[in-house]
Amino acid sequence: MSGLVRPWSWAFAAAGLTYAATVALTGVQGAPGLLVATLTFASFSVLVGLGQMAVITLGPGNVDLSIPAVMTLAGTLSLKLMDGAAGTEAWGLLAALGIGLGAGAANYALILLLRIPPIIATLSASFMFQSLAVWSNRGLRIKPPDTLATFSTGATLGMPNLAWIALLAAAVFWVLIERSAYGRRLSAIGQNARAARLAGVPVEGVRAATYLLSAVMAALAGFWLACFSGGAALNMGAEYLLMSIAVVVIGGSSIAGGNSNVPGIWGAAMFMFLIVSMLNSYGLGAGVRLILTGAVIIAIVAAASGRRAAA
């Protein structure tokens, strides 16, 4: 953790460069708008990325593949519950969080009871979450209550409200990861689960809490995404599977576990949005965008592992 250059500064530097490159092309008048869009869309990636980061920190084999399905499920069900009526906002949010808790519990129960790798447990569970969402939604697009729609597209003190929420979540995670006993134990398990257990770390308790946390964050992101886009869509979570992993990796957390990096999530989330808008503004099509996104992720993973091997 020492040294002048912190690992997350790279993500911010990359985001800054892409921002500058985009503004250079589109002109200065577009700059504030681009910043607002970046902060808004990065917020969703930050919310899911924080949860995924905690899971990945648990060590090799730990990934939550159910994030898109949980997002969809929470967004769909909470909007259905509120049914666009005023005064139901708190209930809707609570419902979303409850769905997150339930999904996380289901994920962890599968891991524990069937003794299967988390990747398969969360994958199988996500099939069922997805179906539940499809069934409850029936292709209807229910609008969020006006208050929520306004709030999620609005801004306070010049910063989008969603960005405030994501910033708050990041702050909470920073305290959790850097200052709490939970964070310590999480990192210990990720570095060496056996050593952690022999040092008295309650390994199962921490793992359970982590999968709950990830699902709750996904539910929260799903709730706000549904409110922001004026209704839940069945594929609304799809792009957040890779996104959640990508922001963790690019943000400087170790894919091998044990080392998480909260500020880096923000930098990486902005970078991921900006690179797409940059390629867009340079007139590159969807194909090239996809290819470059994948290539960036692989390059970063390969480079990160090279650093580790050299150390």
């Binding site: 305290v175 200052r179 709490s180 006993a181 939970y182 310590r184 134990r185 990192s187 210990a188 570095q191 060496n192 056996r194 050593a195 952690a196 257990r197 022999l198 040092a199 008295g200 770390v201 309650p202 390994v203 199962e204 308790g205 921490v206 359970a208 170790s254 044990g258 080392n259």
Partner: protein, 474 residues
């Protein structure tokens, strides 16, 4: 040795040595193994036996001196190796495992020759083995896996075996199978093959060896025909110079019993109990079982009932990404936590306190743990356990790679903590450390083979109980 009279050796080491970083695991070894010889290789843990074997098999290159094989490389010279840890692929059948070691098995028609070879070898080594060549290794018992692995080493083909190294080959076999193996070893030897035989059962070594090589501290200290040794002479040659009589203030007043396991491990409050015996005879597992049974995998609050000091630091102890202070505070984290948050001031104070008490050589406890030498990392692990205030402390061979001065400091600390009423269960393969205990259990083959108390704990008694002195089985 006069080589001109003997047949050309299968492998010859001249001044061979091997260092790992600063550690010299093997030095100045001159050894040649000729056809028709069975070399009994004996010595303590860490005496250099496995490094020597690694040089002979070519798994390691010597860092000094030379290793020459008859046909150039070990594989072509027919060097086969049955390692102590299982090296079969558990998802394959017995016959299929041959594909890894026998390179002449190729294409689609390889299965029948593989089956024929392994069946023939099994029939030769273990008559009436009852083992199916098409059985998946994962379905076999431990004894059957060991039989399969031994048979693989003796199987004909790709090229035929000429030198077979058997490292503790009977550890999972019952007496009659072990007898069959020894008989086959004699047959193989008399038929012109060579064997390197490593076993903690001296009776077995005497039963098959034509020549016995004794190792200590990375060197060969004795190399004579087997007839030139007596059993007690052999034990003596392996051992260190016995240091006696520096144990102090041994407690006689027993506190209440705080540990009593099904396998017979008992300890009283304030007692230092040793778990002795050769490495890998179940001591570490017994400690781990005890620890896991007494701690929860779900809850992490409240006082710590038992603490663990790891000896295999990389595998069981050190968290490499962290600072010294964080490594030190982990086990007692619940004592430093207020409202879920770690009190970092208290943590730093605790770390600095222990840095002074146990002498961790660093100017800053926030430095990475890996900046410390091995011995100082070990002190951090000691401090981690002692700082928990746990009434019971389990120690899994914690003095590996620790220098003499540190050892003396830690011994004193253990005695002082025991005097305050803490109980220590201490596994060590070094007899010298066991003599510091109030009581010691000697483990052999996963079971307690002997219990020694007070002045009975001597290096001779421990060695005698660690090695089976009995007659050859079968």
């Amino acid at each position: 040795m006069d080589l001109s009279a003997a047949p050309a050796p299968i492998v010859a080491l001249a001044g061979a040595g091997r260092s790992f970083g600063a550690v010299r695991a093997l030095a100045g070894v001159d050894l040649s193994i000729a056809p028709g010889e069975c070399l009994g290789l004996v010595g303590h843990n860490g005496a250099g036996k496995s490094t020597l074997v690694n040089l002979v098999t070519g798994a390691l290159a010597p860092s000094e001196g030379s290793v020459r094989h008859a046909a150039g490389d070990p594989r072509a010279s027919g060097v086969r190796w049955v390692a102590q840890e299982l090296s079969l692929a558990p998802n394959l059948t017995v016959a299929e495992n041959l594909i890894l070691t026998q390179r002449d098995l190729r294409g689609l028609g390889w299965r029948n020759p593989a089956r024929a070879r392994i069946r023939a070898a099994l029939d030769r080594v273990f008559p009436d083995h009852g083992l199916d060549a098409d059985a998946t290794v994962a379905d076999l018992t431990l004894a059957q896996r060991q039989m399969a692995e031994i048979a693989m080493a003796f199987a004909e083909g790709g090229p035929d075996p000429r030198l077979v190294i058997l490292d503790e080959p009977t550890s999972s076999l019952d007496a009659s199978r072990a007898g069959q193996l020894l008989e086959h070893v004699r047959r193989f030897r008399d038929g012109g093959g060579a064997i390197v035989f490593i076993s903690h059962i001296l009776g077995e070594v005497f039963a098959v060896a034509t020549r016995i090589v004794v190792m200590r501290d990375g060197r060969i200290v004795d190399d004579r025909p087997a007839g030139g040794f007596t059993r007690s002479g052999l034990v003596e040659a392996m051992g260190h110079v016995v240091r006696g009589g520096d144990r102090t203030e041994r407690r006689n007043d027993k506190g209440p019993e705080v540990v009593a396991t099904a396998e017979g491990l008992r300890a009283h409050a304030g007692e230092v109990v040793g778990l002795a015996g050769l490495a890998g005879h179940g001591q570490a597992e017994a400690l781990a079982r005890l620890f896991l049974a007494r701690t929860s995998a779900w809850r992490g609050r409240g006082p710590v009932p038992v603490a663990f000091v790891a000896g295999d630091r990389a595998r069981d102890g050190v968290l490499p990404l962290w600072s010294i202070a964080r490594n030190l505070s982990l086990a007692g984290l619940s004592l430093l936590t207020r409202a879920g948050l770690v009190d970092r001031g208290a943590e730093g104070a605790l770390a600095r306190d222990w840095r002074g008490r146990i002498g961790i050589r660093t100017d800053d406890v926030d430095r990475p743990i890996l900046s410390l030498s091995g011995g100082n990392q070990q002190k951090v692990l000691f401090a981690r356990a002692l700082a928990t205030e746990a009434p019971i402390v389990l120690m899994d061979d914690p003095m590996r790679g620790v220098d003499v001065g540190t050892k003396a400091e830690v011994y004193d600390m253990i005695r002082a903590e025991a005097a305050r009423g803490r109980t220590f269960l201490w596994y060590s393969t070094e007899a010298e450390e066991m003599t510091l205990c109030d009581r010691a259990y000697v483990f052999r083959n996963g079971r307690i083979a002997a219990e020694l108390a007070g002045a009975e704990i001597t290096e001779e008694r421990l060695l005698a109980a660690s090695f089976e002195m009995g007659e050859v089985p079968g």
